[in-house]
Symmetry: C2
DNA sequence: TATGACAAAGATGTATACAACATGATTCTG
DNA sequence: CAGAATCATGTTGTATACATCTTTGTCATA
């Protein structure tokens, strides 16, 4: 008897489904039928089930008894809330990053900032926005604050689509770049207070921008 | 044929297992064998499985492939991290509570503070500590900040045992009471800045206390 | 005695089958 | 024709059985 292709592991399925939700392959409110996912992921229904439970706990999926799972829709108000929490957490990691970053890490961060400057000056706002995300991630790494990092990761997954729109808001790209430069400078100078301050200033601006976008989706 | 007692629903099992972990019925590093839990909870192994997956995502349980689940052990360093994040989140909800609380809610909060004062003066520190937790929960409710509340809830579940020891640290009960009184007063006065400030001061003290307890469990 | 192979036991991961439930179409009734 | 009851379909929830892996204990051998 031939062996069936032995299906992917739970964590692989978790990551695949998660990224599909985050990058918009699966749209909010879309039904997630267990059998369909099982076939798509090459896994059993049981595996899909636990994955859905985890994603529910993470806030990416909504489940209702006997009615199945759907991609969770993040309202505008909730996006603001999430950004507020993010702001608080990013202040923590900025502070720790200033205290704990190695020289190599700082060099890499500054290199990344230079790359962002290029993209910004070229007017390539999509690449710039990607660099933005990478910068925040690298700061989180440098902080070595496991708890804050983990929470930030789940929060970020929930408002990626919104972040896109804030960074591209008219007239926001130049201030955004200057704010990021200030953060990098503070961390490079090992000044924890300045790092926290710069980060708070940056995110409070993003927050204001988002609050004003009441008309958005 | 007689109907078997028809098993509890997933959410019931989730809550029951969760509280068992939080209140210490199940100790850290203890193995969680699916069949045993299934019998204890009166549910199927499949249900237990999804519950364990959720609790893992929440940080209360650790799972390893083919090796089962255990109650997660929270290290001292992690307890400090968690408290730092809590501090940031509690500042947010304190601010919003000051802005959004109704008169009835404020009256109830002040009543609770009075009760805590009694218990404190009676030297009943266990009841006082319970009141402490209830006060923080009521502030979280008043804030109407769903996101921060949800995260705080999961974080609190992870360092309950530590909190107990900080509140009972020698000489900490009187300052603790004064700090809580200041928070209540600020919220009652609808002063968001003062509320955030008082909360930050309070939790930074708790944080310091915890940092000094290197010898603890 | 120490060490390594090997088998037995126990637990987890997965497939299958079936029962419980929600939903929407169909039929019956006034 | 309107509305309620009924049935058909599809999906989720659960039980069972089995495969797979880890762990432990045994035994032979140097």
């Amino acid at each position: 008897m031939e062996m069936q292709s032995q299906g992917y592991t739970e964590d692989e399925c978790y990551r695949k489904l998660r990224t599909a939700i985050i990058d918009g392959t699966l749209m909010p409110a879309q039904r997630l039928v267990e059998m369909d996912l099982a076939r798509w992921l090459g896994a059993s229904r049981a595996t899909v089930r636990t994955v859905l439970a985890r994603l529910e706990q993470e806030g990416l999926v909504e489940r209702e008894r006997y009615r199945g799972a759907r991609v969770r829709h993040v309202s505008h108000e909730e996006a603001v809330e999430i950004l507020e929490v993010r702001m608080a957490l990013e202040c923590i990691i900025a502070r720790y990053a200033a205290e704990r970053a190695t020289d190599e890490e700082i060099a890499k961060m500054e290199e990344l900032l230079g790359w962002m400057r290029e993209k910004f000056e070229e007017g390539d706002l999509v690449s710039y926005s990607e660099g933005n995300a990478r910068l925040h991630r690298s700061i989180a790494e440098m902080s070595r604050h496991t708890t804050a990092r983990r929470l930030l990761d789940t929060l970020n997954s929930q408002n990626v689509r919104y972040q896109y729109r804030t960074i591209l808001a008219p007239g926001r790209s130049h201030p955004s770049f200057l704010e990021h430069a200030a953060i990098v400078q503070a961390i490079a100078g090992r000044d924890a207070d300045a790092a926290e301050h710069a980060m708070r200033k940056h995110l409070s601006h993003v927050c204001d921008t988002l609050r004003k976008m009441r008309s958005g989706p």
